[in-house]
Amino acid sequence: MQSAIPVLSLSIWLPIIGGLFVLASGDKVPGISRWTALGFSILTFLISLLLWTGFESDTAQMQFVEHATWIPGINAWYYLGVDGISMPLIVLTTFITILVVIAGWEVIQYKPSQYLAAFLMMEGVMIGVFSALDAVLFYVFWEAMLIPMFIIIGVWGGPNRVYATIKFFLYTFFGSVFMLVALIYMYFKSGSYSILDFQQLPLSLTEQVWIFLAFLAAFAVKVPMWPVHTWLPDAHVEAPTGGSVILAAIMLKIGGYGFLRFSLPITPDASATLDWLIIAMSLIAVVYIGFVALVQQDMKKLIAYSSIAHMGFVTLGFFIVFAIFNRPEAVGGAVLGMAGGMVQMVSHGFISAAMFLCVGVLYDRLHSREISTYGGVIHTMPVFGALMVFFAMANAGLPGTSGFVGEFMVILASFQADFWYAFLAATTLILGAAYTLWMVKRVVYGPVTSDQVAGLRDANGRELLVLGTLAVAVVALGVWPEPLVEVMDASIQHLAQHIAVSKLAAAPAAVAALP
């Protein structure tokens, strides 16, 4: 389906052009760059809403497709399109970016125009990642994402920012180059760089395993999965608040999106063969990282580890499908698991963003992220304290918040796969509650521990606006996830059917092996 107005191109390039404007406006009058950035981010959000309103949720076809010549020499096209998996993530991106722009309003004093420009360009590039249907185009966006983030952490980050940002860049770069080789390999098998063609490409099991591992290197680092998660706590701790928000809310989702768009449909047999690996890594993330989060002294580090644990749920939900396929009586669980993973991604986008913004509010006042610095914040910041407790509850998966929906769906699906998967996954209900609520107890409740805390002023209107919006989103998704599940449903059904069919029957090698 070709679209009349290029909505996707607009949502990609408008913020990038906006970023250039902001950059050009300079820092002499900081108000100009702030309002320009806000204007462009709201405009992009409105445009991305066209995607939601114009979306036909009864088909798994790519929609809003744009197809134009790009590099004829290597048969690469400017090929964009969204389905029910990528569209909600794009809207999430544009939504979170507005909040990031507002959250950095007065906080960023050093070169604010460059800061805001980096976030706007980042937004466009991330939308590009979600909407690219050409592998070269995807890879260009995928890697281009690193540059603004590298600058954001390195320039506006904390004391150890250089180490953190170089580690971040090299980890992700290292993961993705192997994916590039896999993409080129498939180009020579299929004669095109179209991701949809890759999904139909017959591949032998050996090829699939290699390609799967190359994808795993890229996506596992991005998600991040245990044991390649170590860059994330460093990056989060050193990044400015806005950087942490984008990192947790969107960039981690890109890894999960990669599994759904590349690993599962392109290499279904390798995924089925190696699903134990992903499930083991996911469960370790849920359980072990949960314990690691428990002992953190630094609030941002704690939330970073909690993100890893929650993303473990996402990958678990994606990869238990093969275990469910083995039990014919429970096929519905496959869709449930993947849909749960997707809901968990969107919900985690809201909650982690809110948690990092809460830490940011405290950090802006006392310049410390140590849990021990605080205590009794609720006495001096009652409204803020209430919001932080709310988000902490959501992070722990309280029913009625969005955090519950995704976790519940994934746990339900894992029961259909294997009792022990579900058992281990469900420990998060205890661990998650333990580490988040214990942090809240030490930071928000209790007597006022120091003069600094006694002198705190409650959140201002700007901060309340940002946190309040997120609180509404968390509740809305928590009590009424139906619209989100509905737009994804057709695409996820289609994906489940696609990966249930082995590619090996069609692969030439398998044919040759027949007597």
């Binding site: 010549t69 790009w70 590099i71 004829p72 020499g73 290597i74 070169k111 460059q114 070269v136 890879y139 260009v140 966006f141 995928w142 890697e143 281009a144 690193l146 540059i147 590298f150 600058i151 390195g154 320039v155 920012r161 250089v162 940002t165 170089i166 860049f169 090299l170 770069f173 290292f174 180059v177 192997f178 590039l180 080789v181 080129i184 390999y185 180009y187 020579f188």
Partner: protein
């Protein structure tokens, strides 16, 4: 054989460069010290005219003139224009530096133009002798340019090293060419190719000559293990000379390799492919790993050159038209990136202070955020990060390598480019994250500023729309 003036038409650009050099040599005699800027103007406008002439004369089918010793084909058109544009950029970058150091003499321009002429002859050579003539014209001009700052002992040392090793490389190449001449009985590449096709790889003398030819090419490119001269020469030579030496000659070296290995010895592809695999893998490894340890940015960029040469070889060794187009694209793009990187060093070098330590770039973003952004683009491009053109160049080369089934080679290449990313990132880190040692804003002439902006934007735009250049590269081998 009668002489036909129409044969001179394809070589009008070369003649024009020679005339331009001669004019400069003469005009310089009558110029007073304060009027030396005229040299610069003549050289820049002259080069613009030559670029135009190359475009006018170029295009269309290949022509072989001057009794088979000279060729003009789509590849030579593109490469010559690239060489001329990069040389033009380096003139513009160097203007203020040369003026401040009192190096603004006609000889600089004359020598550089002779080098340009040498490169153009190499690019269009269709016989061993023409090729060698162009190569030596380039090399001799460069030896003199490296020692151009007469009172600077490190420049003289660098020139001496360059001369000794360069002469050794030329000697080895010449020795190999003599073997090939002996085995094939001809100096003209087309005839050599026919002789090789007839004799095949059974003739040991051919393969013996090939080994020396590959070594010679390795020397000229600066591929490991024939790279020893590169870091020392880069470090010792004055910045504008490094700028020139490090950029355009890579394009000419590509032409040298292509003319000899493909036009002449294409039938021996199986033999030279293996040699190039070894050279490229160790170049990638040594270049990228040793660069990490450098504190002198010129040395760092020298090792970076070595690693890029590994990538150019990867494209060449594929032996397919896609591979040649990829290698050509890479060589041109590399020259552009190198011009940008060294150009910034030239621009930042003020009187009496040669910018060559990494620390000299500290906090450039605070001093001049536009130049900083351009330099960051160059660095990301060298590291091969999209959306810059450096990524596209690497993608094309990897495409070519994987298309012939050498995917393990592609894995090695990407592995080392991740290692390489580290030291490019370090430069970005120094520019953006460190506090400057001197806070005064950068004083840069408008010409150089425009040149750096053009380079940076070209890197970005070609990265977004690589088809603009790729089409020409692919057409050259269609």
């Amino acid at each position: 054989m009668t002489f036909d003036y129409a044969h001179l038409l394809p070589i009008v650009p070369e003649i024009a460069v020679l005339v331009l050099a001669s004019i400069l040599l003469l005009v310089d005699l009558w110029l007073k010290d304060e009027d030396k800027g005229t040299n610069h103007l003549i050289a820049v406008f002259g080069l613009l005219v030559v670029i135009g002439l190359t475009g006018v004369v170029g295009g269309g089918e290949r022509e072989i003139v001057l009794s088979g010793s000279y060729i003009r084909d789509p590849m030579s058109d593109v490469l010559k224009i690239a060489v001329l544009v990069v040389s033009l950029l380096s003139f513009v970058y160097s203007r203020d530096y040369l003026r401040d150091r009192g190096l603004w003499v006609g000889e600089f321009y004359v020598l550089t133009l002779c080098a340009v002429l040498g490169m153009m002859v190499m690019i269009s050579a269709n016989s061993f002798l023409t090729l060698y003539l162009g190569l030596e014209l380039l090399a001799l001009s460069l030896y003199a340019l490296v020692a151009f700052e007469r009172d600077n002992p490190s420049g003289a040392e660098a020139a001496m090293k360059y001369f000794v090793l360069g002469a050794l490389g030329s000697g080895l190449l010449l020795y190999g060419l003599s073997m090939l001449y002996g085995a094939s009985g001809s100096l003209e590449l087309g005839a050599v190719a026919r002789a090789v096709a007839w004799q095949g790889a059974d003739n040991q003398v051919l393969v013996f000559g090939l080994v020396f030819v590959v070594i010679g090419i390795g020397f000229k490119f600066g591929a490991v293990p024939f790279h020893m001269w590169v870091p020392d020469t880069y470090q010792g030579a004055p910045n504008p000379v490094v700028l020139f030496l490090g950029s355009a000659p890579k394009i000419a070296a590509f032409a040298l390799a292509f003319r000899l290995l493909v036009d002449g010895l294409g039938q021996l592809h199986a033999d030279w492919q293996g040699m190039l695999v070894i050279l490229s893998v160790i170049s990638l490894a040594v270049g990228n790993i040793v660069a990490i340890a450098q504190t002198n940015i010129k040395r760092m960029l020298a090792y970076s050159t070595i690693s890029h040469v590994g990538f150019i070889f990867l494209g060449l060794l594929a032996g397919t038209t896609e591979g040649f187009a990829a290698a050509m694209f890479y060589a041109i793009v590399y020259a552009l990136m190198a011009a940008g990187g060294f150009g910034l060093l030239v621009m930042m070098s003020r009187q009496g202070h040669e910018v060559e330590r990494l620390e000299d770039l500290k906090g450039l973003n605070e001093r001049d955020s536009w130049q900083a952004a351009m330099m960051a683009l160059v660095m990301f491009s060298m590291a091969g990060v999209p959306p810059t053109v450096g990524f596209m160049a690497k993608l094309l080369v990897l495409d070519a390598v994987i298309s012939i089934g050498l995917w393990w080679l592609a894995l090695i290449a990407v592995f080392f480019s991740v290692i390489g990313a580290f030291y490019y990132l370090r430069v970005v880190k120094i520019i953006y994250f460190d506090k400057p040692e001197v806070i005064e804003p950068l004083v840069v002439g408008s010409g150089a500023r425009v040149a750096l902006s053009v380079t940076g934007l070209a890197i970005l735009l070609l990265g977004l729309f690589p088809a603009a250049l790729l089409t020409y590269c692919q057409a050259a081998f269609a």
